[in-house]
Every structure is written in structure tokens, then in C-alpha cells.
């Protein structure tokens, strides 16, 4: 009786979130798996099962493979560049100041920078997209190209040249992400006891040594989390690419990403079955990535 009351109490609290989670997260996932085995057009009342036909079609879909290649580039560049830049800035903000090795504090004005770095994170992705559309605009009204033209240089088609478009998009993603990771890493750095730095500094370690031998190893967990977040972000890019490059992967498919393709296949072409198959593929890609990252970088924790 006592047990029942105790667990009944806990279950009572858990029931609502579990039900909400099952209805709004788990069941759509399961449904996506189910629909991916059909040729549902979004309007039919009954599902018509076609087996793995949709997945076979994926293998012959050039746009799908192009999207995977783009995700590959994103996956390599976005986490690495964001984390390197964020680490650099958060080191400067938290530990970079003072005379060499002496004071464990940030550079002058670090409180101000901390706020400024976070600004892009506050903006909605759509706003960022519109903003950078103006910055990248290919004629004399573009922020960058206007300056280039004034300097007598040729304007650059940032989002129209197939060799540049994806990189221009990645730059925006990094620009927006860095602020958040600066704050995340700053919090991690604040948790590292100051004695470590002071001890190392007394032994004559310079800033580089401090960073690579103390800060980075002790930030490992935080960086790992950041890596997984950014990796998953590399499988997204939906809103930003929609605004900056449109939904056709232009130019020449160099900005094809799976979420945009799924959206277009389902809602524009009424091929819900095929779109669900893409969604299932995307699900496995993200899960595989997250598991791999967490597994391969697992190490013993350091307690301090």
C-alpha cells in the first residue's frame, strides 16, 4: 500500500509529460517510419504499402546524394570552425587578460564583448537570413559588394556562384552559433579552479601552454556537447537556407539539404511516402552521428 502510494504519486507527475511526449514526439516518429513504406500522397484516406521502394528510389536520387555531400561538408566545417573560434574568444574573455600569466581574468572590456557575442543568438534565424541576404546582395546595394564596387573591384556573387554559395551559408551559421558557444565555454572555464592556472603560471607556462594543457583538457565535456549540438545543426540549416538560397538548392544543387528536400517533397510534390523515407534516412544519420561522437570521445571524467 505504501509502495503503491509512493509510486502512484510519482507516476501521477510523470503521466502528463510522458503522454505529451508520446503523442507529439514518439508517435510522429513511428508514423514517419510507417509512412515511409507507403506511397501516400497526403490526401488518400488509406495507406498503400509499397515496401522499401521509397528507399530504393533514394539511392538513385541525385539531389539526395548532393544533399548528403553538402551535409558532409557542413559536418566537417561547422563544428570545427565554430568551436575553434568560440574557444579562442572565450579564452580571451575569461583568461586572456592581465600581464603574462599573472591575473586569471579576461581582456579589457570582456564583459561588454560577452554580451555582444550573444547578440546573433538572440535574433531569429529568419531575421539572420534576411540580414545576410542584404549583406550578400550581388549588386551595388549589397553591403559587401557595395563596398567592393566603391573600391573599384568586381562584385562577388556570394550566393550565386556554385563554388561560394555553401561557404557563404556556412559562414552565416558560424556567425550565429559562435556567441552561444562562447557563453557555454565561458561557463565551463569559470568552473575550472583558478589554482590550476596559478600553479601552472608559477611554473612558467605561457598563455598557449595554459590553454592547451589546462583549459582545453578540462573543457573536454563541454566541447563534446557543443560538438554534438553543432553536428546536429549541420543536418538542419532549413530556415537559413530557405531564406538565403531558396528551396531548389541553388545554385546548381550546392545548397541542397535534406530538411528542405523533405519539406518540398512532402508539401510541394505531395509525395509524403518518399519524404518520410528521406526523414527516416535523416533520423538515422543524426542518431549515428551523435552516438559515434559520444562513443569515440568518451573518456574518464576528471573531478575537481
Amino acid at each position: 500500500m505504501e509502495r503503491l502510494r509512493k509510486y502512484g504519486f510519482i507516476a501521477g507527475f510523470l503521466a502528463v509529460p510522458v503522454i505529451l511526449y508520446s503523442v507529439f514526439v514518439i508517435s510522429p516518429y513511428i508514423q514517419a517510419f510507417q509512412i515511409s513504406l507507403t506511397d501516400w500522397d497526403g490526401y488518400a484516406a488509406n495507406l498503400n504499402y509499397v515496401g522499401l521502394e521509397n528507399f530504393a528510389k533514394l539511392f538513385d536520387d541525385d539531389a539526395f546524394w548532393q544533399a548528403l555531400r553538402n551535409h558532409g561538408i557542413l559536418l566537417l566545417v561547422l563544428p570545427l570552425a565554430t568551436i575553434v573560434i568560440a574557444l579562442f574568444f572565450s579564452f580571451l574573455i575569461n583568461l586572456g587578460g592581465g600581464s603574462n600569466g599573472a591575473g586569471m581574468r579576461g581582456i579589457w572590456g570582456s564583459k561588454f564583448y560577452r554580451v555582444v557575442f550573444f547578440f546573433p543568438q538572440v535574433l531569429a534565424v529568419a531575421v539572420v537570413g534576411v540580414l545576410f541576404k542584404a549583406i550578400y546582395r550581388p549588386d551595388e546595394y549589397g553591403v559587401v559588394n557595395g563596398a567592393l564596387i566603391k573600391l573599384g573591384l568586381d562584385p562577388v556573387g556570394w550566393l550565386v556562384e556554385p563554388g561560394l554559395a555553401l561557404w557563404a551559408v556556412i559562414a552565416v551559421m558560424i556567425w550565429q552559433a559562435v556567441g552561444f558557444y562562447v557563453v557555454l565555454f565561458s561557463a565551463g572555464m569559470a568552473a575550472i579552479p583558478k589554482d590550476y592556472f596559478e600553479a601552472a603560471a608559477l611554473d612558467g607556462a605561457g598563455r598557449f601552454r595554459l590553454f592547451f594543457s589546462i583549459t582545453l583538457p578540462l573543457l573536454r565535456d563541454t566541447v563534446q556537447v557543443g560538438w554534438v549540438y553543432l553536428g546536429i545543426a549541420a543536418f538542419d540549416g532549413f530556415a537559413l537556407i530557405q531564406v538565403l538560397a531558396g528551396d531548389k538548392g541553388e545554385p546548381d544543387g550546392t545548397t541542397h539539404v535534406l530538411p528542405v528536400q523533405i519539406w518540398k517533397t512532402a508539401f510541394n510534390y505531395s509525395e509524403y511516402g518518399y519524404a518520410s523515407a528521406m526523414g527516416v534516412a535523416l533520423f538515422f544519420l543524426t542518431v549515428t552521428f551523435a552516438v559515434l561522437t559520444l562513443r569515440t570521445t568518451r573518456r574518464e571524467r576528471i573531478e575537481y
Binding site: 500522397d41 549588386d139 505531395s270
Partner: protein
């Protein structure tokens, strides 16, 4: 080839149409809509979605006067005022006991798809905008009411006349999905190249009639720092897909587009298509500016208003779209596509005239009879005139724009249509039938126009996609004969 000087009987009739137009704008225009009709074979194949027409000309569909009616309007460029202030009050006036649930949205598909699936669809749907529903799929599930009863019903204004005889014939030919009349196209638009008539007056330029004149004007304009031609590479590159297709039809006749629509083998490899693509790529390379590949339609249209480009491929809605920004020394006018070769199948002056803006009636809704009646009201003179007044766009209803003060673009379009006579370029219907193919062609248009593929490669690529669509048994196929 016919020359402007030779007047045939048909053209004479059209000239009379022109007089009518001068007397009352729009009258001649609409009677002259030359996408020849003849689709008058009402289908009786869909018993589930066909509603019987009763004998009462006041209420031919037997509407229950107390049943509520639900109307969903796409509140895009036309807004929803025409429905709220014109058509719905007309319905209320006819059936004072009925309540109308009015719903305006820009997300037709997201809002209505689940409702159609669950059998709770609105009675009238204005299926439009980027998130519109796939009508072929809806038709396949029997969700759309057969409109042939509407077309055969007595018209609102004159019980002696059937609805089908009060609208431009293209309405009937464009209503068909899977051989049934399911879609009402309500607006008429004119597509070709648009320019600033005032600028031409001021510079003493004339509208080029041949490709040589066109490029010569390009040289002249270049000296003044004006581009001959530009299209928006972002959001609206399909304007250029249209433009290239219409150019191909001008060179090789409407059959070029009809073959493409019917997925005829190697339709995209036809010589007129290649010639059209090559001609426009040449213009882009010599007189274009690659910056426009990164501009959207609004940015490009603003630049035309600043006289930075001469010709822009679009439709007669352009003036209404830009109305707030048009400077005093700018007047939109339509220019037909110049002769590409001396032996073009269609003479100079041919423009595209088409119908658009889809309205459907939900077959499984609560009040399909009311839905049909609502469409009949829209097709009345009063309803259509109200639409034109509210939106500055023409409807398919013959003579409904009489007495309405039309903007310059529409007056220019009407004149151009009159000059074109029978030489009306048809619309490319695969845009609605095989959206994936149209999107792919549009993507490839940017590639070929930017010089990253040759016109031959363009044709081969799009043909490959067309072959894929043709082979895909899951894509329901549509055909047209004219």
C-alpha cells in the same frame, strides 16, 4: 505569315472587338481571348461528385437557403476583400438565412489538407499561393465537385445563357483534371516582356520587332548604362522558364508546349526549344548582368522602375503588384517577344494570354450546392466587375470590366491581345501537372542562363527529368489536345 495590313474576316471581328474595348474597357479584350474553346463535352463520369441541376434558374443547384457556407480565400496579392465585400454579400443577399464562414489565409495547404483528408472541407476554396494543394491528388480522392453542372447552369445575369457561354473558352479547357471539369480559373493575364513606355517615348526608341532590332536596342541601351533584359534569379526564375517556353512556342507554334505538356518523347529536344534557350542565353551573356541571378523578383522589379533594365518577362499583374512604387515617369506596357527567326511559326505580336487563380468546390463538404452557387455568383457580371475593381485584374467573365477604369498595364495588354488576334501563345500546363518537372526546368534555367551549361545540355537534362516523370507510374498523367 500574316501581315498587319491584311485584314481577314476574323481580324475584322476583332477590330470590332477593339471598338467595343474603347467603348468599354475589357469587353473586346475578353471576347477576343483566343485560346480556342470547344471543350464543351460535359463529363458524366463522376456520379459521386456530380450534383444534379434543378430547373429553377434562380437556384439551379437546389441550394438549401438556410445552410451555412464556408469560404476559404488565399489572401495574397489580391487580398480577400473581393470575397468579403463583393461575393459573400451577394450570396447573403440571395440567401438571407445562410451564414457565411469566411476564412482568409496564406497557408491554404497547411490549413486545409487535414480537413480534406478527414472529410470536413470548406465549400469554396481559392487554391493559390506557394502552399496551395495538389489538385490532381485531391481529384484522385474525389474531393473536388464536378463543375460541369455549373458551366451548364443558367448564368446569373441571363437565364437564357449558360454559364459556359459567358466566360472565355480557356476556362473550360483549363478546368479539366483527369478529363473532368473540376477547377475554375477566375482571372485572365497577359504574359510577354514588360517595359516602361515613357522611357521609350523620351528616348525616341521603338519596341523591337526582330531579334536584330532587339539586340541593336541592347547596344544602344548599354551606352546609357541600361540593361536590355533581366529576370530574377531568386524566387522568380520561373518567369524566365515561361519566357523561354513562350519563345519556343513563337518559333515552333503552340504544339511545342502541348508536346511538352503531354510528355511526348524528346519534346524538350525539339529545335524551337533549343533555339529559344540559345537566343535568351545570348542576350543574357551580351546584354545581361549576372548580379540579377542573386536578386529576387521585387528587387528586380524595383530596378526596372529605376530604369536600370528595359525588358522584364512577367504578366499583366505587374502594375498592381508594384503600384505603390511606380514613379510618375513610368508607365508599364507589354512588348511581344521579338521574331527570333524570319520563319517563326507565329508572327510578331504573339503574346501569351492565360487564365489563372484556381477556385474549387469541396465535394465532400457540408454545402457543395452552396459552393457551386457561390462560383456562379463570382461569374456574374456584378461579381466579376467587383473583383476587377478591387484587384485591378481582369476576370474570365466576358464584358465584366465594362466601365471600370483600368490601369495602363491592362490597357496595353488589351491592345496587344487585339493586335495578336489568333496568335495567342498557350500556357504551359505541366507547371501544375508535374510540378517537379517545372521546378527542375526552372533550376536548370538559372544554370544555362549563367553559362554553366549549354542550351543543348539544358534540353537534354530537362528531357531526362521528363522521361523520369513519364516512367513514374505513381504520377497521374494529364493530357491536352489544344
Amino acid at each position: 505569315m500574316t501581315h498587319p495590313g491584311e485584314i481577314t474576316r476574323r481580324q475584322l471581328l476583332r477590330r470590332i472587338g477593339l471598338t467595343a474595348f474603347v467603348a468599354g474597357p475589357g469587353a473586346g479584350l475578353l471576347s477576343a481571348c483566343a485560346t480556342a474553346g470547344g471543350g464543351g463535352t460535359p463529363s458524366s463520369a463522376a456520379p459521386a461528385t456530380t450534383l444534379a441541376a434543378s430547373a429553377d434558374p434562380k437556384n439551379p443547384f437546389g441550394v438549401d437557403p438556410n445552410k451555412p457556407l464556408e469560404v476559404t480565400i488565399f489572401s495574397g496579392g489580391y487580398t480577400d476583400a473581393y470575397a468579403k465585400d463583393i461575393h459573400e454579400p451577394m450570396y447573403k443577399k440571395a440567401f438571407p438565412g445562410a451564414s457565411i464562414k469566411h476564412n482568409a489565409t496564406q497557408q491554404i495547404g497547411i490549413q486545409l489538407r487535414p480537413r480534406f483528408v478527414s472529410g470536413d472541407a470548406p465549400d469554396v476554396v481559392n487554391n493559390s499561393g506557394p502552399e496551395s494543394m495538389d489538385l490532381v491528388a485531391l481529384a484522385g480522392q474525389g474531393h473536388l465537385a464536378d463543375l460541369s453542372v455549373l458551366f451548364d447552369a443558367p448564368s446569373y445575369d441571363d437565364p437564357g445563357k449558360k454559364v459556359r457561354d459567358t466566360v472565355t473558352p480557356a476556362v473550360i479547357t483549363n478546368a479539366k483534371i483527369d478529363g473532368k471539369d473540376l477547377v475554375l480559373n477566375y482571372t485572365v493575364s497577359h504574359r510577354a516582356l514588360w517595359y516602361n513606355a515613357r522611357l521609350f517615348e523620351q528616348k525616341g526608341w521603338t519596341v523591337p520587332k526582330t531579334w536584330a532590332e532587339f539586340t541593336a536596342l541592347g547596344e544602344l541601351a548599354k551606352k546609357e548604362g541600361i540593361l536590355l533584359f533581366a529576370y530574377p534569379g531568386q524566387v522568380g526564375p520561373y518567369y524566365q522558364t515561361w519566357n523561354v517556353l513562350y519563345t519556343a512556342a513563337k518559333i515552333g507554334g503552340n504544339q511545342v508546349i502541348i508536346d511538352i505538356d503531354n510528355l511526348v518523347d524528346n519534346a524538350w529536344l525539339a529545335d524551337p526549344v533549343k533555339k529559344a534557350v540559345a537566343a535568351w542565353v545570348d542576350v543574357q551573356t551580351k546584354y545581361g548582368d549576372k548580379a540579377y541571378f542573386g536578386l529576387d523578383h521585387t528587387q528586380t522589379q524595383v530596378k526596372q522602375l529605376q530604369n536600370k533594365l528595359l525588358f522584364y518577362p512577367t504578366g499583366s499583374w505587374i502594375e498592381n503588384e508594384m503600384v505603390k512604387d511606380i514613379p510618375d515617369d513610368f508607365e508599364y506596357a507589354i512588348a511581344p517577344i521579338p521574331d527570333v527567326t524570319p520563319t517563326d511559326a507565329m508572327p510578331y505580336g504573339a503574346i501569351q494570354v492565360g487564365v489563372g487563380e484556381n477556385f474549387v468546390v469541396g465535394a465532400k463538404g457540408k454545402n457543395p450546392q452552396g459552393g457551386l452557387e457561390y462560383l456562379r455568383i463570382m461569374l456574374s457580371k456584378e461579381g466579376a466587375k467587383g473583383f476587377t475593381e478591387k484587384t485591378q485584374n481582369l476576370t474570365v467573365v466576358n464584358g465584366a470590366a465594362e466601365g471600370v477604369d483600368l490601369p495602363a498595364a491592362l490597357r496595353s495588354a488589351a491592345k496587344a491581345q487585339d493586335a495578336a488576334g489568333q496568335n495567342i501563345i498557350t500556357d504551359a500546363r505541366f507547371e501544375g501537372w508535374y510540378k517537379e518537372l517545372f521546378d527542375y526546368a526552372t533550376e536548370q534555367i538559372n544554370v544555362v542562363m549563367a553559362g554553366r551549361s549549354t542550351p543543348e545540355e539544358f534540353c537534354a537534362n530537362v528531357q531526362k527529368k521528363a522521361d523520369e516523370i513519364k516512367k513514374d507510374s505513381k504520377v497521374s498523367k494529364q493530357t491536352r489536345s489544344e
